[in-house]
Every structure is written in structure tokens, then in C-alpha cells.
Symmetry: C2
Subunit: 143 residues, 2 copies
Amino acid sequence: MKQNVHFVTVATPDLDVARAFYVAALGWVPLVDVPGEIIFFQVAPGAVLGLFDVEKFAQDLGTGPAHSVVSGVTLSHNVESPDEVHAVVAAMAGAGGTVLKDPQPGAFGGIFHAHVQAPGGIIWEIAHNPGWQIGVDGAVSFG
Amino acid sequence: MKQNVHFVTVATPDLDVARAFYVAALGWVPLVDVPGEIIFFQVAPGAVLGLFDVEKFAQDLGTGPAHSVVSGVTLSHNVESPDEVHAVVAAMAGAGGTVLKDPQPGAFGGIFHAHVQAPGGIIWEIAHNPGWQIGVDGAVSFG
């Protein structure tokens, strides 16, 4: 098995609410938007975030609604500075996100971060990590 | 907020079990491995999967164990053919994964896929999607 993630798919209770948050308020552009079913956003080279209607998510998985509450996962969005952490958190809160942790130094990794829960359940970490870099070839390194 | 996911971080009950599955059995190479804390794997250009000790995950989030059971999310690994779906599922099962859905045509998107739960909780979708492509610039398209 190659070391690749191509899609992160998240059970989403209301795609209209999610669309209002990511598209209308934050300005994201869907790769594909199938109303009532799924919205795809490209979020890295070759990698896609899918917001999948929660009932269809459970149907596709075949394991019922037990797996349809999002938990045990965070998605991180890295920014260039602590000030930018504050700015993105403010933008997400203004768009309807719930701030779970105000911007502050993290317990791990020397980062400055915050946690914001988007409507629908995804917990986003907004982080400035001074040591983290992406090379021109896409290789990630921690300084 | 830019349209980027840099880390997918997953609460993981036993990092030694996860390491045995991803590293020893499947041959993945960690970007960073901090025993008892976190293992990072690069899984796309500029994007990292982090397996984070479940207690530290909950501590970092500051919201307690309610958010530490993985659910409502799948990670997809795309392959070139239905035969390769079978091969990867067999490799994951041999490594200790639990097959939740045997390889079969999917209900959505014209794909051929299977679901396998890795030790620790991540549900992987192994999929062949004939229409899905990654351009040389990393742009994803659905044919």
C-alpha cells in the first residue's frame, strides 16, 4: 500500500450549512458540488476534502449511523504567523464557527494555535509552526 | 482562509500497534516518530497524516475524551484498477486490518471500492475511480 491519502471524507449533517460556511463565507471553490450528496474541495496537490451527506456516508459505509458523528480527528491549516492565526480564527468565527480554544501556544511541537469547530462538526486547528516547511517538491520538513 | 489542509490528525489508542501496521507491515516511512506521542506520515505533497496518542489528542484539544473516538471520517487511497483494490485490501487484512466492506462497485461515483478499518480506528476506503485524475500540477479532476 502506497503512502498516499487522496480523499478525506467527512460525514456532514447539512450540506447547505457547510456550503454557506466554506463557500459563501470563507470563499472556498468546490471541485464538485452535488447538492444533497457531496461537496469536494481540493485541499492539497492531489488531495481532496469531501463533505458527504451524513445519511449517504452511513449508507456507503454500511455500518449505520454509529460512525456518522465526526470525532477523533482534526484538520490543520497552517499559516505564516501568530497574527494570521488570530485573523483566520476571527474569519471562521465570523462565518459561524465555534472557537474551542483561543489562539495560544500549543502544548506540543512549539506551535501557536487555536481550535475552531466548523458548522457540521470538523474541528480545525489553525496553527503557526515556525519549524514546518514545504519544499518546492512538496516534501514536508520540521525544522 | 486559504483552501488548504496541511495535517489530518487522528486520535490513536496505541501508537505501537499503529506503527506495527503502517510501518512494519505496510512499509510506510514516518516523517517524524515520537514514541508515546505522535507519528507523522507524509501522504500528499505538503500534507501529513498524524497519528496522535489518544490521551494527548484529548489533552491538546482540551475537550476531553468525547472527541477521541474516531468516527464520521474516512481516508481514501486510490489505486489504478479493481485488481489493485483487491491486492491492497488483502495486504491491509494481512497486516491486521478489519475488512468492513469487501471489494465491490460503490453506490456513488461509479467507483469500485472496499472499506478496511486499520488497528486504532481509521476507516480506509480503497478505491478505483476510473474518472479521477491528478494533473502534473497536482490538480484533481473527475472525468
